[in-house]
Symmetry: D2
Subunit: 286 residues, 4 copies
């Protein structure tokens, strides 16, 4: 495979040997850092997102996730709080000195989401929404590009190529599980892809073990497995009351489960040559 002519260029390690590192607020993404993004699947109300952000901030977590515009399979499912959700999310992040990452589902929403977010998330269903990619490539905020659940590694890198070619070099790739015949987990986490992409591209690669498993008991082992496979960060769904969550409750971890994940990520970091981005804060604020 390594000798095959690659159909992408700008995202390739052949093109740029230095690993891509960039800052979001004052926190570096990529390189020797291991970043942790956490928060609920969806922003449900003001209190919920403040409770979660406050908890995460105390643990030193710098990146707050939360969906305001939710892509839902059924039109009858909760579709998100929309702009109200963005507002709550940003307020909770600001108050707790965190950065925001949230999904943008449509070109028409890019401007609005831009006002509230620090990092754009392109969801799995939109990895090949090329108009959206082109529009985002013209903005000056970083983009986390989730892998399509049935997209090959090559297609994923080509989608990132759209972003770099359009002018935005600050891209995070995020593996979130692929669709296979196996149905006892929500998706199949493809850690081969993480290790392989690290040999092909200079872009940071994150993993979302919550979406990738759909089961909260698997989030801890898969977080560590992701780190061992070479991931540069993880994104975890955390909820103060997972059993009451309006979406994806089964895959959201409890606070004490999240604490254990941070603890073990910290322990594992030296072995994999990484510096967890939450470590310094933990010392300062606890």
């Amino acid at each position: 495979m390594e000798n095959k002519r690659k159909p992408y260029q700008l995202v390739s390690l052949d093109w740029k040997q230095e690993r891509t590192v960039f800052k979001v607020k004052r926190v570096e993404i990529g390189g020797d850092n291991f970043n942790v993004i956490a928060g609920p699947c969806a922003v449900e109300n003001e209190e919920q997102i403040h409770t979660i952000a406050s908890y995460l901030s105390k643990r030193g977590v710098h990146f707050l996730r939360g969906g305001a515009y939710k892509p839902r399979t059924s039109p009858y499912s909760f579709q998100g709080l929309k702009e109200e959700g963005l507002k709550y999310l940003k307020e909770a992040a600001d108050k707790n000195h965190m950065a925001v990452i949230t999904e943008v589902m449509d070109t028409n929403l890019v401007e609005k989401v831009y006002e509230y977010t620090d990092v754009f998330q392109v969801g799995t269903r939109n990895m090949q929404n090329f108009q959206l990619l082109k529009t985002l490539s013209k903005t000056d905020k970083p983009i986390m590009l989730k892998r399509g659940w049935s997209s090959t590694i090559e297609e994923w890198l080509l989608a990132a190529e759209y972003l770099l070619l359009g002018g935005n070099p600050n891209v995070i790739l995020c593996e979130r599980g692929i669709r296979t015949f196996e149905n006892s987990t929500r998706n199949t986490l493809d850690l081969n892809a993480v290790a392989l992409v690290k040999t092909l591209s200079h872009l940071p690669v994150f993993v979302d073990p919550s979406q990738a498993t759909g089961l909260r008991t698997l989030v801890h082992p898969m977080s560590l497995a992701a780190m061992s496979a070479g991931a540069d960060g993880i994104m975890i769904e955390v909820h103060n009351q997972p059993q009451e969550a309006l979406s994806d409750g089964d895959q959201s971890v409890y606070f004490d489960q999240f604490d254990k994940i941070l603890e073990d990520v910290n322990s594992l970091s030296s072995l994999v040559g990484k510096r967890p981005d939450f470590r310094k804060q933990v010392n300062i604020e606890n």
Copy 2:
């Protein structure tokens, strides 16, 4: 399965027992009709689309397809002629008394594409582009909703539910192959899905054997197989010079291959209780 509570409603045969039938220009879609859509993968230039449209029209084909905005895996591939392509497509259709069907890739393009098309096509990558679905549901033109290449039948019907719930009842479902481990064909045509959806929904179901196979030699047998499985129509990529096509040349049939498909569709129609929509025209215009 039949006894499970279904998560969709408006698209269901339980909700509406009559098959959905509607007219595009003067041609009926659905019901006892078997519709044929044909044309090139992409509109490449004025002459090409006029040549193809003229040929198709002589065969009695009423629906002209052609991509103007092309979703392409690589940013380095031909991206379509955009509005110029829409213009050529409509002119070719008008001149030959045909209706236009073309893909709309983004909410921002809905208005523009509306001016030129008779039927909106939602492509496989956009089946769950919910903003696009919501926007299209507010228009008064029919929509052909292609199945996502890794979407379940249930997800497909729920995507159609977005359209009907938003107010647009004129929806065609189109199976175009799913992604599997098999790689000697471009996709795996899922005719089980066609037969099953006919038992679940009142909406017409079409098949795209060109995308579903990726090989022009398979388009003829798969067209007949689709019809036998219960499809209400087919969409075929036809090109005057397939070997020169700017995209998808390998799956575009030659004119004489297309003639043979029409001939055998015609022969098969009485067995499956269908009336090919091109038949009458053939008698009149040839």
Copy 3:
């Protein structure tokens, strides 16, 4: 694809341009014939198999299927009547002037099954049981080789190559559905594979729409679709009391459903240039 060097030889149309045709008892398989194999999933008792065989024989069906040794996912499921089942099956076939086709699951059973069957069936789980293939290749009875549910077309043809290379040229390939992400049908029938294999190999290709769908309402449309795609035969699970069947009842058709399948296969045959093997008998015996 056509230009790639093929890894198989003896099964290839390049190697042997004449379609493989052979006789089982006095009935020809392959060529212009369209063969129908029918019977229950499993031989359950003497009366059941005689009832079904007698019914099938009256319809002119020449091939009686029925499992005696059943491969079952769970050790707690009915495992078949074993040799007793073989005995009943052969008696029912003999009495009704039919030929027997039944599965052989293990090299140790080849000799025993040989005494009772006319055609060996290699099941989907054994497509790459190479010892079994080698053993069967040394026998003088035809072999129906089902495609592994996750085997590529190339792997399937290479499995057949084992049989031909070992000395047995009388091989039927049988597509029975592949495993994909779609779970509303038991498997995904891959008719692309049927059409493609007809361009690659001289061996007859059959389809098993019962296994491929798992739903009896889909057996009729998929039988016709298979025929339209170029299949040389079909294998159908028929049961006198599907709702009481010890295995696979949901996919077994009732007698009246089977009658309708035969009727429509008959109607379709001239279009696809085939001669149904049951036709003559129907005239004689009814």
Copy 4:
């Protein structure tokens, strides 16, 4: 999922809460141990297997793998040295105080392989070779049951149930990658399955990162990822001259790569609460 009635019993943690631990020669498998199996894909000649065994033994590795009867997709590929290979394998293991694990492909070979091996391996293609499972369940040697490349977790556990129900409790489950649409790696390693099975069953779970990736550069990260996901052991293809290997050379690691894997497995072990089985030996024999 946890609340669904499980179709298996003996393999379940509900049935037996104690983790299964057993000895092969004097080395414990399961429990707090982390076992390493290594060796070439195939035994190619006497010198090769002795060279590799001698190297592994010096590193403290206790389990020598090597194929004598090789299941090969093509009949034209090297099929293994057969009994000669078994002999070389056992001699190399004996000389170096190692235990043998090798694949048994057929019921007819169980007796012969029994003479030479310490652990039977059931390959991915035979996971549902039920006659083979039944035969092996009556022997008194442990069995490593590889997951079928398209078998669900439930089917895998049911296959193990055949072994326990037949009387053999000493079973190792081995995840070796599943078949998906992704084709830049040979298979997709499903570590979700490892973590999930550890919550469902008391049996030890191993991982084969060589088969699961097909690329030697991925074997190191995936070994660590497997361990982090909760695996009880790994099986690695090691070759003295990977570039000359008669089979699977691309996925066989060099000696120095293997050394690095052992080193990092050792470092990771305390974090995951495991005791590498090679550690003590390393101290003694180096």
